[in-house]
Symmetry: C2
Subunit: 302 residues, 2 copies
Amino acid sequence: MDAAATLLDELIASGLLVPSGEDGLYGRGAIFETVVAGVESAAVRAGAGDAAQILRFPPVMPRSTFERSGYMKGFPQLAGTIHSFSGGDREHISLLDKLERGEDWCEHQAPTGCVMVPAACYPLYPALARAGHVAENGPIFDLQSYCFRHEPSKDPSRMQIFRMREFVRAGTAAQAREFRDSWVERAEEIAAKLELPFEVVPASDPFFGRAGRLMKSSQSEQGLKHELTIPVAGLGPTACASFNYHQDHFSEIWGLARDDGEPVHTACVGFGLERWALALFRHHGVDPDRWPAPVRSTLWDR
Amino acid sequence: MDAAATLLDELIASGLLVPSGEDGLYGRGAIFETVVAGVESAAVRAGAGDAAQILRFPPVMPRSTFERSGYMKGFPQLAGTIHSFSGGDREHISLLDKLERGEDWCEHQAPTGCVMVPAACYPLYPALARAGHVAENGPIFDLQSYCFRHEPSKDPSRMQIFRMREFVRAGTAAQAREFRDSWVERAEEIAAKLELPFEVVPASDPFFGRAGRLMKSSQSEQGLKHELTIPVAGLGPTACASFNYHQDHFSEIWGLARDDGEPVHTACVGFGLERWALALFRHHGVDPDRWPAPVRSTLWDR
């Protein structure tokens, strides 16, 4: 059995994860959630000096702003659109017949105005645009959201729906770069305190298809994305945090402008919360009571 | 302007809610989230004696278990199925063209194995079935999940995606009924401590279409559903908690059995967290610092 299957079995046997029958969808037990909360508080403590503004968006966003975001250009294979029944009584009867017979019953499911949030910061930029100008000091935002990526996998570190704690800066180019770089250091410090083996490496996003290859190499050449990776259970190490400098990509799309007329550049750091939890279980065992004292205090001391 | 629009404007102006451009989808500021957390801890304190097992499911569940749940029979209009791009490079180019021209681009979005969770307890029953027998003492579960209902509305208390804290008992008929009834009392006590005007009334679910009318009246006649309602901003009072005795409905579907061979009956209480928060803002004002001391201590004292 491969490493991913072994880890998954162990997590399920310990009640940390609850299988659902669908790859990449799991329930979690209380202890798993306590570890996730610990990872979040370690990240928040590392960002305490930033006086970030807390905003929370639900895991569903408007299709209108999603369409404008450009996500379908880069990652159509990962996106999830939400569809709903559009028929009347007659179509409903036919739907139930098909369901009964195990046939495809989605004929009258029509796209709604809702899509799945692909990354915690996607709903932020349209909200900033709606609010008008971005403040001159280059505000920082503290976000957390479930994110959906349609990539069913038997590797528990590749979930179809997972939580991302994300911090975003919207400021000058220098502020955005400085923010990104400082978070590389802060995340390295967290991983070290959690006694996890890690590496920070240049990275690129899984852009779709032939056109995607070009976007991928351009992103790599410009050094826009880095990841902190930890061996979890996949074939290679798993990206547990990513550090992204977007240049003025999102402010071009959303027409973001600063009070002083300077273009707005953005950068973000995202922590894949389930992945950090899985890394901790993988390296320190399934019982957090037995984890090294410094690891426990990094997660749970105030 | 009607009451819903007035409340919504006030909440947005205070930074409590962040508009998204789509009815029923909102971001939330830090204070809104603190109130939600307070409502949850009041509910958890009321249930402390139950020694409930904490389980957390993501807002997305397998289509296979959703299909079996019977939800499409009763509420096809509210359900959300998640669809994903199924084409290759050529279809991708055509998709982007359509997006560019503002046309419907969802032609190649195909149903995935994922659907939106409609109520926090829906993923629980298949998990219990998978685990085999239900313990004889009639276990109690503590759940919390985002839930999706496709019913766009300008009333902020009718969100398309919202959080539900739910407690479920899986035991004998007597245990399930007693659990449901005791939670009516506990929720009344919470509402009273929060100094909110409330009423507990017999209720029924919004079953779809012509066949739905029958299901609705049968549910009413048997007194299976009650709701605690509070005037928030809708035309009538808003259901902020619901108390449901399912008889053996879910255990019939999922083949749940107790160790002693007795049929499993279930009951649940669900707290609509955003609705409680909205009720508090509506009745005590947008600044929690100015709320009555007993209300504050019910929410935030340990």
